[in-house]
Symmetry: C2
């Protein structure tokens, strides 16, 4: 029976610009009762990645103008705007609120930006932990995005290392031998969502381990999840 | 430590119009090594709900015209159309491909429609299993939806019983005591995504149990997840 377990890595502590994040996560794993195993997926919330990489901006003040200015700087294009809500495309190609600029967990008059290259961030953690613990793992970096037609937010993958972000089921058949219509499962996004169920928004546990996910080795990063603008019916 | 476990309920067997679905799920649980516990969430893929409720349509043929006609019948409004892709709003208020009409797992020249009232379907299962096993549980009914700006599909909740579909974290603070900006977590959708990681699209296990999710009792169903058209920037 396929059983999935998801548990947080506790005791990672405060991450600041220059922290060796892979070492901090590795030390926390070393102090945990469990250990990392072959096939595990590590989900890391992007905030600690961004902090370790120095992607923190001091705002002139805590008011909306400073924030808006920063969002416009970070955006590649603005998709929609209403009142204080800005839906923007980031340089990575993500479409999300505020171009990923976040003022939670940053400290007063500060904002956290997305990592420059979240795939690279994920891969760095993957390689270091694989070496340290002698395991084959995948790593995803997550953020919290809204959806066009559904209220509430879910975590999604913004960086992917070691695994295919999307699993293509083409060729697989249903119970009647008919080829499946639903062919592309966003596995990395489903992993991010599952991880958020144990991480939580106010949690001090920014990393979770998922054990029992069937993932496909790949080096394609997050790109398969990004819908090219030409294919996009909603911008 | 908060640990989440997700496992499939095996041995549910073929569901046909008129099957007592709650009894079928209960029997499968009875034959499983594990048992249902207080606080569990049961995720049920809508296809078996639709089948049990007779929401199966015989198409005139397996061609695209029959299918298109059915999609137009099921849609409350068409949001976008390109080639064979139709994004429509269903009568429930969901925005999804083909108004939820699905030809996988239906058999030749057949299609499966969404349940008429997925909240009610979920609640019926919840009440029956709660009584049979003497446990307090939540039940969600899931479907597989695409996203406007991300490729690949994820499972989401289309029916919710016993729990709040969205958890509002307003008032909770981050590590610096600042009130969280991200306040509304779509818990039911994250549960659906996590369940799909063990259910899979080609699986014969259409039900999963999630143990260790922190959910809030509620009777509001799926409604909190539906963005009202007036708030929607993308239609």
């Amino acid at each position: 029976m396929a059983v999935l377990t998801v548990f947080p890595i506790e005791g990672i502590g405060e991450i600041t610009p220059g922290t060796d994040l892979a070492a901090a996560i590795g030390d926390a794993i070393d102090s945990s009762p469990g250990e990392l195993m072959d096939g595990d997926v590590l989900a890391v919330t992007h905030k600690i990645v961004s902090k370790a990489e120095g992607r923190i901006v001091e705002l002139e003040n805590d008011g909306p103008d400073s924030h808006r200015h920063l969002v416009e700087q970070e955006a590649k294009s603005i998709i929609r705007r209403r009142d204080s809500l800005v839906i923007a495309e980031t340089r990575h190609g993500f479409v999300c609120a505020n171009a990923g600029v976040d003022r939670s967990n940053a400290g007063p008059a500060r904002a956290i930006l997305l990592p420059i290259d979240p795939d690279r961030s994920a891969n760095r953690i993957r390689l270091r932990l694989a070496e340290r613990f002698g395991v084959v793992i995948a790593v995803i970096v997550t953020d919290t995005f809204g959806r066009a037609w559904r209220r509430g937010l879910t975590d999604v993958a913004i960086g992917v290392a070691g695994m295919a972000a999307i699993d293509d089921l083409r060729g697989q058949t249903d119970d009647f031998g008919k080829v499946l219509e639903v062919t592309e499962v966003a596995t990395a996004d489903e992993i991010a969502a599952a991880a958020d169920l144990v991480i939580g928004k106010a949690s001090r546990n920014p990393v979770a381990v998922l054990r029992g996910v069937a993932w496909t080795p790949a080096t394609t990063g997050v790109a398969p999840l990004i819908r090219p603008p030409g294919e996009d019916l909603f911008r």
